[in-house]
Symmetry: none
Subunit: 457 residues, 2 copies
């Protein structure tokens, strides 16, 4: 391992330059105008995988954005790890809030800045570089390695889901290694063993067939913006609980052991509120903040728009208004069942003069990995060594729907080795990634590959 | 009057040609690139007023667009009427929806087509031509006449407001005659005696200092979109009444006579709903549609925006959300008092984790002219004669803020003699004006001048 660590340290600056090149490609999966950038990004990545020494590197085209695959399976008596990542990134709006162009990455204050610096180009690079280090120093990694990097994570992994069920043999593995989560705190190595699921809906309320003059018509018709607001207001009760029928029916109760594990993490509400710039936290009554974030389901409006939104005044009753509403789900909630209940409920909340359209944008199941799994314990050891501190086990509020697919289809445990920080502004302006975490992440990845090679047989 | 009517009929085709010349000038007040056209239009109008026989015709320059004034005050023992209009027009976008070039007026299907054909060049032309007819036939009109035609009505009458308070003596009059409203129905002569006021506010809710990942943070913080929606929902009670404290305190109760007057208008809810493309009407319980439109105050969101509003999904808790919220006011509500109550109330409706900013965009007082006013009754007689049908008295839901200024500053009643139809597409593509209404409007104007001359002394 000494050679490997030395190699990673010596070549770190070069690695950063390569990563910056990767970040310069504006691979925003949700924007049709970036579809060419998605192809460009996939090709770039495929070349990178070929260059580090992988074989069978292929860019699979899909109905939407390409999937990149590469492998080295030269050790039939050793276990196989599937390393997953995504090369697509979130949109950059509000663009005016960035202090630099999001696709012109830079190194500053010990951080790498740019859209995708953390999520997920930066985090996945840790594994690419650790595998490369083994190839360069020993001609091969100590275990069989398969890389699978998709371009639709930020929009629901639609193509990857089909790809997995079609290529189960190709993707066969003993563990799935994913770095797409956060560390519990700066300097605290973390293995995440649970993720919330997601259900993302869009609701449109339509009233009069065109915008109306609010003077000539105000008082006579239901206003789609006001009615949409009323509907949204009804989605929570006064205790912050979601009112969609059956919403809590299948929710797994938190065990005493887990409650105790959470308590040991000594989460500070005051510090958290300060970091977010809010005077007070909020949410479902009767639960601690960590419980609300990790094991309780939630409902949030992600966006709303309707009528006149420019400078000054326009006196209209808007013809329509719409909102994006998403729910974070926990084991054992079923997103599809909840989508049906949500749709029916929302329609019941509109008055007669309003036409309601509800559509599902995407969903993902919640997941929890057994803590006692050997691969998970091996990963905890690896990060503990790399970061020089005992790893903690956490759950996370976010969703990686594909993790459930992986576990169900490939029958292997998923290891969530988060290298980012909550303060890295992923999905927001000024996204960044700590250089120290990137470097230690590379080393942790190397430790994992080494230790994992000794696990089987 | 026979000579006058004969003159107006005989010269109608020439009048139309003159009006078309007027319509060819693209006097769009909101567009800086049309500022030269505004001057050209004012000069054209001033020449027109000189040519019909008025004296002291002057183009007053202002901070923005010129104001045109002209008078004949040769009958000191007779009353004085101030005729108001505006030569500016609305923008023409969406230009692709016009079936002809908006500034190339044409006569077709008994209508004059072009931007400004109704609003307001066409309507004001009725008065210019009736005054001309008196000059041509009798050397002078039967009353003192003052024309005041501005170029900023479509952008808030900013300069006119100052002009009125500066020139109270010049503008002194016994009644203000305005044709800038609509007839109740085709063929039904109409005098409008009330307009609602307006209070236009903007509210912003701010939560976390940046957009947050809705997975990592959902459940822990107040979401500005959800909270804004909750606040908006609370602005009405279940009977559709506005809940802002003191909102209804000063509202003038509808008299029995007025209620009866409204009933006689035989308004059809079903027809109205069909025109607007809605399944059902809505609004404050306990009032008819006409009452809700004309004499009851309302509150509407004119626009709302927050978070991600593009295609697809972005899983954020937005940092902020804002809404434009306007209220239509009725006598004797005070917009400034209500603005203060609204601001305080809205702030009280937000939870601790949300920062609230409320600002007032603009306001205008409501107005009602006493029905029994002699000038108003005279106008009703005049339109009844010209249209051969008994006039109806209506109020209107919209606001013409300058009308209140006129009444307050000049201490004279305003007569709203609408000659247009709701279906004339003012402010929209393919604006037009019925030739029959233009001609009858000229005759109605002449009858009014004649009858008004007999009112005083």
């Amino acid at each position: 391992m000494e050679n490997i660590i030395k190699h990673l340290n010596t070549n770190f600056d070069n690695s950063l330059e390569e990563l910056k090149e990767y970040l310069r490609i504006p691979s925003i999966s949700t924007s049709p105008e970036h579809s060419k950038d998605m192809v460009k990004c996939a090709e770039f990545l495929a070349n990178k995988l070929r260059n580090i020494g992988l074989t069978n590197v292929e860019v699979f085209s899909t109905e939407k954005h390409p999937i990149v695959y590469g492998q080295w399976i030269g050790a039939p008596d050793k276990p196989t790890v599937l390393i997953y990542g995504h090369y697509d990134v979130q949109p950059v709006d509000p663009i005016e809030k960035w202090s630099f162009p999001p696709f012109e990455p830079k190194i500053e204050k010990g951080k790498l800045w740019g859209r995708g610096a953390n999520d997920n180009k930066g985090q996945q690079f840790a594994h690419i570089k650790s595998v490369e280090a083994f190839f360069k120093n020993y001609g091969a990694p100590p275990v069989n390695v398969k890389f699978l990097i998709e371009g639709e994570e930020e929009i629901g992994s639609g193509s990857l889901s089909k790809f997995i069920s079609k290529h189960k043999e190709l993707l066969k593995c003993d563990a799935i290694l994913i770095s797409d989560t956060s560390m519990y705190a700066p300097g605290v190595p973390t293995i995440t063993y649970g993720l919330r699921g997601l259900l993302y809906m869009e609701v449109e309320f339509s009233g009069p067939k065109a915008d109306l003059h609010s003077g000539s018509f105000g008082g006579a018709v239901a206003n789609p913006v006001n009615e949409l607001a009323k509907m949204i207001a009804k989605l929570h009760d006064k205790n912050g609980r979601v009112t969609v029928p059956n919403f809590y029916k299948d929710v797994l109760r938190l065990s005493k052991a887990e409650k105790e594990n959470f308590r040991r993490l000594k989460f500070s509400d005051a510090k958290f509120a300060k970091e977010l710039g809010v005077k007070a936290l909020a949410g479902e009554k009767g639960y601690t903040t960590l419980e609300r974030l990790w094991v309780r389901p939630t409902l949030d409006c992600n966006g709303i728009v309707g009528g006149f939104t420019g400078e000054g005044a326009k006196t209209i009753i808007p013809s329509k208004a719409s909102a994006k509403i998403s729910m974070r789900l926990v084991p054992n909630q079923n997103p599809q069942k909840i989508a049906a209940d949500f749709t029916k409920y929302v329609k019941s909340l509109a008055p007669e003069g309003i036409k309601v359209d509800v559509k599902m944008i995407h969903y993902g199941y919640p997941v929890v990995v057994p803590l006692e799994d050997k691969a998970v314990q091996t990963a905890a050891k690896a990060v503990s060594k790399a970061f020089g501190k005992k790893a903690v086990f956490t759950r996370e509020g976010g969703s990686i729907p594909i993790v459930v697919e992986f576990m169900n289809q490939l029958k292997a445990p998923a290891i969530l080795m988060g290298l980012g920080l909550d303060t890295d502004n992923i999905h927001s302006p000024n996204e960044h990634f700590e250089l120290a975490n990137l470097k230690k992440g590379m080393i942790a990845s190397a430790y994992f590959l080494k230790e994992f090679s000794e696990m089987k047989g």
